[in-house]
């Protein structure tokens, strides 16, 4: 910061007559340099706490989880020894791991399809001008805004084995028999229904999010372009396919990636509804990692299981990163 005076001074003294302009330029560049370094100094200073927090509580734990996964760490014993890839091997040799992996993928893919369908149709409806649109929008986003544990509780009560309000309706309209009959669905107690029940809650929770992200995309398409396409005689679906979708592709991708990352790594819905049961029918990787790592106390094995999520998440995160970067330019 003191560089400006020392670099500008001698310069001006040695070439007094000829180089007033040079001197002043030197002084300017020195001043500029000090301004730059001061600006950067302040900048890095302001940035430091955020970078430190993230490095210490996200970066370091992530590396630490790699270390845990390679050790036989337990909740009870603080001293762990290196066991190499034994935890990963143990996971790959257990049947439950494959069940959890399959359930995770089925859960995420099936839920994504329904969120896409419901989200797109809802976004189109919300795009239309109609009376009370704001109120309707406020109502349909409620599932997304409620704290997850709160809404899951409500669903658990709706899925009650005896007093399920869903079953009450189904039996009244004749789709299922009355309570006690063989086709009375026990939502959280029967293998296929239990997985479906968890997917339903995830879809219910997230389709408004898909719709709102899509809506933000749709409204960002300039109407002039759509009008021009209409004048050219394109059909609604042609305009959607060839004008709207390419234009909002980045936003679609961001919404999709976000939702997939959160769906894959979420424990709360399944844990609160079924704890992975019945008979592992709803066991997904996050639930397995929690049960092994915390409930059974095998930190190392739990960390290894949770790290299996990483290869699933990494491509999504790289895609997202590239997308965000491109949009910054």
């Amino acid at each position: 910061m003191t560089a400006s005076s020392s670099s500008g001074g001698p310069d001006a003294a040695s070439a007094r007559a000829a180089a007033i302009s040079v001197a002043s330029r030197a002084r300017t560049s020195g001043w500029f340099r000090s301004q730059t370094s001061r600006r950067l100094g302040v900048g890095y200073l302001l940035l430091a706490p955020a970078v430190l927090y993230v490095l210490l509580l996200v970066g370091a734990p992530f590396l630490f989880s790699l270390y845990l996964a390679l050790s036989d760490a337990n909740v009870g014993e603080p001293v762990a020894s290196f066991v190499g890839l034994a935890n990963f091997r143990a996971a790959l040799e257990s049947d439950v791991f494959y069940i959890a992996l399959r359930n995770s993928i089925v859960f995420t893919v099936v839920a994504a399809i329904f969120k896409g369908l419901l989200g797109t149709t809802l976004a189109f409806l919300l795009l239309q001008p109609f009376w009370g649109r704001k109120v309707v929008r406020g109502l349909v986003v409620i599932p997304f805004t409620l704290p997850v544990t709160i809404s899951v509780l409500s669903w658990k009560w709706m899925y009650d084995s005896q007093f399920s309000v869903i079953n009450w309706f189904l039996s009244r309209i004749g789709l299922v028999g009355s309570y006690g009959s063989p086709d009375w669905p026990v939502w959280l107690g029967q293998a296929h229904l239990a997985l479906a029940a968890c997917i339903i809650v995830n879809v219910w929770r997230s389709f408004p999010f898909s719709a709102i992200v899509l809506l933000a995309g749709f409204t960002s398409v300039p109407t002039e372009i759509l009008d021009a396409a209409r004048v050219d005689g394109t059909s609604f679906f042609q305009r959607f396919r060839y004008v709207v979708v390419p234009m909002i592709a980045p936003i679609l991708l961001i919404g999709f990636l976000f939702d997939t990352v959160f769906t894959l790594s979420d424990l709360s819905i399944v844990y609160l509804l079924t704890q992975g049961g019945p008979a592992n029918a709803t066991k997904i990787l996050p639930v397995l990692a929690y049960q092994v790592g915390i409930q059974a106390g095998a930190l190392g094995r739990g960390a290894a299981i949770s790290l299996f999520l990483f290869p699933l998440l990494l491509p999504l995160m790289i895609l997202l990163l590239r997308n965000l970067k491109r949009r910054e330019d």
């Binding site: 200073l45 993230v54 509580l57 109502l139 409620i142 709706m158 409204t219 960002s220 949770s306």
Partner: protein
Amino acid sequence: MAAPRTRRQKEIRRHLWIYGAITPYVIIAVFPIYWMVITAFKQNPDLYRMDVFPLWFHMAPTWKHFSYLFTDTNYAAWIINTMTIAAWVAVITLLVGVPAGYALARLRIPGSENLGISVFMTYLVPAIILFLPLSRVVSMLGLQDNWWSLVLVYPTITIPFCTWLLMGFFKTLPTEIEEAARVDGCGYLGALVRVVLPVSVPGILTSVIFAFTLSMQDFLYGLAFVAPGDQKPVTVGVPTELIRGDVYFWGSLMAAALMVGLPVAILYNFFLDRFIQGITGGIGK
């Protein structure tokens, strides 16, 4: 005379069509909340009946599920815990996120775009990968079974998100305000504190709301780090403590859920557009 009427009829028909199509969505979205409300106010004998229409009262509504929460459970403590945790998280988030967002948006740091994106990406590192190592960190600091552990870890979610949000917000401010402040002799920090912060109240308020609501969305950290019944935040306490073994007291469970869920949903709703903007990076209105 005929033309306006048909246009009006057309308009009405269009509206009917839209309402018809959107009603199922509204019902699907709102029904669990309605079911929560009606359950919270029903007397127990009214709750466990299969012979009557379940969506309305068949006995007088009651407040007793609500009063039970405050007299017989830790509900009040959970609410206080949650509010205190969220307040601390909001303070930490602002102290860290405002300077970082400002530096990334305005101080032309080399590589600031990449830095901003990397900070934001940590928002996506799932808790399920971090909770086991963080449980070690928490116990090393002696914070296990104490809600202070949550004050420590929730900013890992809120700082990335709010820094990103604030960065976007600062970018929308005109640069002239800082230039004017600097002409008047302010340094970078002086300009930030004296002229930028006062015009950034909406952005800061949004960050506070999201620090509150994001930390209330957590389940895993609360479940893994805090076992004692009186230390839990409300969104963890309700589903884990109000259930005795296999017995569910649905009336009080739904009352507890309602009292937390509704205010959060309403608060969130007001700021939803900013949330979406934060995620999609400013596209859309």
